[in-house]
Symmetry: C2
Subunit: 310 residues, 2 copies
């Protein structure tokens, strides 16, 4: 049951020889969610050995080219490879209009359907929901309508201890009740406590993607106590004015948000191409929030399975 983030691109708007444009992939139980899709995403997927067929859902934070231009090639490649499954794109409504024009010009007929899900980036609302996961939008503060995404695993039922089913000869019809926390009453009337029959469930895991954005404490309540936070850190703090003007953040500002939200780990990225070495950005963040790490292309961040209490 994976919960694993792969960084496909960690640069800001201009790529470098080492940093591709923004795209992340979150693997939740072998379902792969693509978050933003900068130019070169399909090539980075290949390099990181993530199969194209595993991607059914793409989340686009905002309509700036460095977060979007990889969609054209990916849509085209899916078509060339004969995809038939629906592709779901969660994005600002304008992107549907533009992508339709684009497909009309370059592709004409696709072998599959694109299902658009329109995002209102001013709200924090649930935009995706399945048995394992929900995705909520996080309103961000950028030059154009932009939102981040909170991916949160669903709370799981208690895990039943297999050896206890055998020991007490528990019939299948009673299993669901036990998983929901009930004690088991045997045929002879003996009550077996639920705590004897079950292990605590695994903790739910969570990841929030917050770029592009200026410093805004409004997001803190949405991302409270999460496992992994990726936050815009385009600049170092000596460029705070430039960060503000361009609606981006510094490493220090990102760390303040991580601290306020009490997250477990902070990942910084969307680095301006001016920084050949990003360690000044990471160091300034670590002074405020110790568990901070720079995103590098190809990095994998896993959140381990841990039981709630034992």
């Amino acid at each position: 049951m994976s919960f694993e983030l792969t960084i496909l691109g960690s640069s800001a708007a201009v790529p470098t020889s080492k940093r591709n444009l923004t795209a992340h992939v979150l693997n939740v139980h072998e379902q792969f969610f693509l978050i933003d899709c900068g130019e070169g995403t399909q090539i980075q997927l290949r390099r990181n050995k993530i199969g194209f067929a595993k991607i059914d859902n793409i989340f686009i934070s905002h309509n700036h080219g460095d977060h979007v231009f990889g969609l054209f090639g990916l849509i085209s490649t899916f078509n060339l490879l004969g995809r038939t499954k629906d592709l779901h794109i969660f994005a600002n409504p304008n992107l549907e209009i533009f992508l339709n024009q684009h497909i009309q010009f370059f592709e004409k007929n696709l072998s599959y359907n694109i299902v658009y899900h329109h995002i209102n980036p001013k709200l924090s609302e649930c935009i995706y929901d399945d048995n394992n996961l929900s995705v909520h939008t996080i309103p961000l503060k950028h030059r154009v309508p932009t939102c981040g995404f909170l991916f949160a695993e669903k709370k799981r039922a208690l895990n039943i201890r297999k050896e206890k089913i055998k020991e007490y000869n528990i019939p299948i019809k009673d299993i669901a009740d036990i998983k929901n926390g009930k004690d088991y009453i045997a045929n002879d009337g003996v009550i077996v406590k639920n705590s004897e029959l079950t292990c605590p469930p695994y903790k739910t895991r969570s990841y929030a993607y917050c770029t592009d954005t200026a410093y805004t404490e409004k997001i803190v309540s949405i991302i409270k106590n999460i496992d992994l936070l990726f936050h815009d850190a385009t600049f170092a703090k000596n460029k705070e004015k430039q960060a503000k003007e361009s609606f981006h953040s510094t490493g220090e500002q990102a760390a303040k948000i991580a601290k306020l939200a009490n997250v477990k780990k902070l990942i910084l990225g969307h680095f301006s191409s001016r920084y050949k070495n990003v360690s000044p950005i990471i160091e300034e963040a670590k002074k405020i929030f110790a568990n901070t790490q720079a995103a590098e292309d190809g990095d994998i961040f896993s959140v381990e399975l841990v039981r709630e209490k034992e």
Copy 2:
């Protein structure tokens, strides 16, 4: 005085972890000509240390995504870096219409002008001309209007031997005549033969880019005796039927063209992503045309300066 081709991407429509989408850069005397612009071109330019400011002319063979989708990011990056010089794009007229829509949606105002030069891919005509170089179109055979490009250095004047200027005390006013082949008549009436005063000029160098295309002998007369030919070799010969249906070529077919045209060197590329190892394509070509090489991303092919006769 460089004449140097860099391969930025050597894959067909679907990229692989090792082969980017199609783009070449030809350096002619430190002017850099970009030929096609598949997704990831700007990143490949960075990796190959080719400065964005050196590129003023882009030639697009046809409007298929794998030859075009890198333009969006490149245009955007030029803008972010504050380019002011005109950018010249030589392409099918439809591309102007589409790029204008695109720029309107994503960029609004560019810091520089794009000057479009409309290509008629049915003709072989001169579309670019400066002091050093001319570029002619090469009509190709593909599913959509497509042309290749022939880059040919201009014939240069004779090189004067500096020591002879001193020896005969030749005044500046006579230099141009000598460079054009005239003998020198000294003040005392003595005739100094031009061959004593000059070295032969350097041979003109040439490169033709021919992809995407099915086998067509119509191009042979246009590319006769050139130094470097890049030719579509999407498939090996056991997929000749598939090559024909998709209007691409096999390695063997490309070699036949190279032989008929008596070129000096053949470079094969635009390899289908099915070939993890392209040596079968190269080997079948070498049986017909020995001086054949596979294009690999980052490869550089230089044509040396050689005097016409000594």
